[in-house]
């Protein structure tokens, strides 16, 4: 099998706030067309690693390259190719659900944005709420809107922070299918998650983020660790 390029390469990456690392150094390569999960306890530093990958914080140590260069969200090309879904539960008060997605699609220059938005609204179970304001949605529906926004635009790397949050079992299964389709289309996925089922279904490898060590694991091992954690 030909070696594929690393979409994300972290070598002894240290992340944290105010110069203080929040977890042990993290090392991994994420090849093109594959999915890597970051797993670990609450507060272990998974989201902080993701924030470093999408350029929202600077690494406190080690090295990190994303799409062949240091992550810099000020770079237009970087923003064009890295799609991220964090827990940004903020919306324009005057824009409907469909308009938020249309804004994202058109803002990225997508052709046929209206059809694409309609398709994603259907897929994420939001078609009935297309004309609703996000403030009228339930927390789970708002989460689905954020996820749909991650797919309504072009991307080389999809970064998801606990995408399973506030989704029912059916929607989680659909999301797993969606992410596998993403990989098949050549997309790369990096996600932080607590969901063992999602890790088994989607991830090719996982990094167990912890304050003493952050080893790279096979997906089954990582899922077993999640299941062994006290809930």
């Amino acid at each position: 099998m030909a070696k594929s390029r690393s979409v994300v390469r972290a070598n002894k990456l240290l992340v944290g706030y105010g110069g203080a690392p929040v977890c042990a150094p993290v090392s991994f390569n994420l090849p093109e067309g594959r999915a890597l999960a970051l797993v670990g306890a609450n507060g272990a530093g998974k989201s902080t690693v993701l924030r470093a990958v999408i350029g929202l914080i600077e690494p406190a140590g080690g090295s990190l390259t994303v799409l062949g260069a240091e992550p810099d969200e000020r770079d237009v090309e970087f923003r064009a190719k890295v799609s991220s879904v964090l827990d940004d539960d903020a919306y324009f008060p005057g824009l409907t659900v469909a308009e938020h997605l249309y804004l994202t699609a058109r803002g990225h220059g997508m052709l046929g944005a209206r059809e694409l938005v309609a398709e994603l609204l259907e897929e994420f179970g939001l078609a009935e709420h297309a004309a609703s304001l996000p403030t009228a949605l339930s927390s789970g529906q708002r989460r689905r809107l954020l996820l749909a926004a991650g797919f309504v635009r072009p991307r080389s790397l999809l970064v998801l922070d606990e995408p399973e949050q506030r989704l029912d079992l059916r929607m989680r299964a659909d999301l797993a299918d969606r992410l596998n389709a993403e990989k098949e289309a050549g997309g790369t996925v990096l996600m932080a998650t607590h969901d063992a089922v999602l890790v088994r279904a989607v991830a090719d490898r996982a990094v167990y983020v912890d304050d003493s060590s952050s080893p790279l694991l096979k997906a089954d091992e990582a899922a077993a660790r999640i299941e062994a954690e006290p809930s």
Binding site: S27, A69, R74, R79, A90, P93, M110, A149, P154
Partner: protein, 568 residues
């Protein structure tokens, strides 16, 4: 630490998992990475199109009509006019009440010099404020839905970047014109030039902070710079008093100099605009979040929330040292120690205390301000600022009473314990300020005897203000010169200041009289004790509401008794 071992563990996996751990490649840059859904890509619209789309879509379902907009503009204009008129009146009456002083008589600091220092303090405050606010930011929705788009961010950020400099321009112009025309009595061309200079200076300060933000300066650095400048202001005043600088007029720039300053402001605005795209997303998000919190606090008239908005984001994310909390001996000392640590870690509040000491002390050494009323006003303002600065623990506890609930303390004891730190700070403040007043009016021991019981009243006022409930915004609206406000807002906002006025009444009387009597000292002890009792109360209702409740309860009891008697 076992990091080395862990890395060896990782290294062994690297050898096994070639695909996941291949050799580093030369940096290939962002080009050449295929994207999912790339085939559907067309031209990316301009940032102005994004802004326009967001605005137009929102406008379609906006409830406000042109009449509402005009009405809002009208009210804003009226409020502004009232505010400026009141300020001009106060400045004018203050000027007419100031004594005439001959600058040849070895005066330490003249009034124009004091106004100059005041302008310096306003500039320092603006630096601190602009630093804490960003000043360029993108709020929640803008950060979430705009910042990720592959468009030139300058176009998206331009309106936000213009907002604060323009507000500073307007306020700076009005304030400096009021100080020059109102307090110093200048007229005509001089006032116009002073106003324009003030406006340009304020805009320059904010633009300078924005330029620093584009160069990577943090909000904490901006806030710290402003705080240090604020501390430098009373120091500068002391130096001026020592040296004896007594200009008879505030130096006002000529028209050519104003033109040069305006050109500088334009150049700085252009420089900042050209670099807006270089501001990191994290900085924009933080600034936008702080600005939204601050605006929300102002709209809801919550000074505590405003303080939190301006403090929290500028605090360091991690501490270099951890307090050992050695003074903790029990629940009360734990509460007091926690409040002390909070105060010690807040540079902003420590700066406020220093300034609050300087204000009344300076009022006693500037001959034109050394009248009973100006000194009383300075003591009132300085004291309230110092007391408020020392009550951060209470304000936090009102929002999230975590420590209060964890410790085995009843609410009244907790409130009394929370008066300890304001009490300590106000003891220092009172010793310095009333020693200066004693030096000015004579009888320093008498003034200190009056000041010490007053410490209790200051502490009580600070805690009462910190624990005040939020106004009930659902109650009936009343039309006021400042727009429609719910009934009871005044009573809520007066909690704290009411104790300053009433609990320190003997002190105010002594300051007006110009001397201390034994009766006033005794009265001060009494009113201070009453103030502590009032501030210890956990009732959130006003005195009138409690009276009405008591009346209602008595009526119900009477009716019940009558009904019982009727049945018999």
């Amino acid at each position: 630490m076992s990091h080395d071992e862990d890395e060896r563990y990782d290294e062994s996996r690297w050898q096994d998992e070639a695909e996941w751990h291949d050799e580093p490649e030369a940096s290939v840059g962002r080009d050449g990475w295929p994207a999912v859904a790339e085939a559907d890509l067309g031209e990316v619209p301009g940032s102005s199109s994004i802004r326009r789309y967001t605005k137009e879509a929102a406008k379609q379902r906006a409830g406000a009509k042109i009449g509402t907009l005009l009405s809002d503009v009208y009210y804003a204009g009226i409020i502004l006019a009232i505010g400026v008129s009141v300020a001009a009146g106060v400045a004018g009456s203050l000027r007419s009440s100031l004594p005439e002083v001959s600058y040849a008589d070895g005066v330490g600091v003249s009034l124009p010099a004091l106004v100059g220092v005041l302008v310096g303090a306003l500039v320092a405050t603006l630096v601190s404020l602009a630093g804490r606010l960003g000043p360029v930011g993108a709020g929640g929705a803008e950060a979430a839905w705009w910042l990720g788009l592959p468009v030139d961010r300058r176009g998206l950020l331009r309106p936000a970047a213009r907002r604060l400099p323009l507000v500073a321009l307007a306020i700076g112009g009005v304030v400096v014109a009021l100080l020059d025309g109102g307090l110093l009595g200048d007229q005509g061309d001089r006032v116009v030039r002073a106003g324009i200079a003030g406006a340009l200076l304020a805009a320059l300060v904010v633009l300078g902070m924005a330029a620093a933000q584009t160069l990577g300066s943090t909000r904490r650095a901006g806030a710290l710079t402003g705080d240090l400048l604020l501390v430098a202001v009373p120091v500068a005043m002391g130096v001026l008093a020592w040296v004896g600088v007594t200009p008879e007029h505030l130096p006002v720039p000529s028209w050519p100099v104003l033109g040069a300053i305006a050109a500088l402001a334009v150049a700085l605005a252009w420089f900042t605009d050209s670099r807006l795209g270089r501001i990191r997303g994290a900085s924009l998000r933080e600034s936008g979040s702080v600005a939204a919190q601050a605006v929300g606090a102002m709209v809801s008239m919550d000074s505590r929330e405003l303080g939190r908005a301006l403090s929290d984001g500028a605090a360091p994310a991690a501490r270099r040292w951890v307090s050992r909390l050695r003074t903790v001996r029990g629940p009360v000392s734990a509460l007091v120690t926690a409040d002390l640590v909070l105060l010690r870690r807040s540079v902003r509040h420590l700066v406020q205390v220093v300034l609050a000491i300087a204000i009344p002390v300076l009022a006693t050494v500037v001959p034109q301000l050394s009248g009973q009323v100006p000194v009383l006003m300075a003591v009132l303002i300085g004291g309230y600022v110092a007391a408020s600065a020392s009550a951060e623990g209470s304000r936090r506890a009102e929002m999230a009473p975590i420590l209060d609930r964890l410790l085995p303390l009843d609410p009244k004891t907790a409130r009394r314990a929370r008066m300890m730190v304001p009490g300590m700070v106000m003891t220092v403040w009172s010793l310095v300020v009333f020693a200066a007043i004693g030096r000015w009016l004579g009888d320093p021991l008498g003034w200190l005897a009056l000041a010490l019981p007053g410490v209790l009243a200051w502490a009580a006022a600070a805690v009462r203000a910190a624990y005040r409930p939020a106004p009930d915004w659902s109650s009936t609206l009343v039309s006021t010169p400042f727009g429609a406000l719910p009934t009871g807002v005044g009573a809520v906002l007066a909690r704290g200041p009411d104790i300053v006025v009433l609990g320190l009444l003997p002190t105010w009387i002594a300051l007006v009289l110009g001397h201390v009597t034994q009766v006033l000292v005794m009265a001060q002890v009494l009113t201070a004790l009453i103030a502590v009792m009032v501030a210890s109360s956990t009732s959130t209702k006003t005195f009138t509401e409690r009276m009405l409740d008591a009346q209602k309860e008595a009526d119900e009891q009477r009716k019940a008794a009558q009904a019982q008697a009727g049945r018999r």
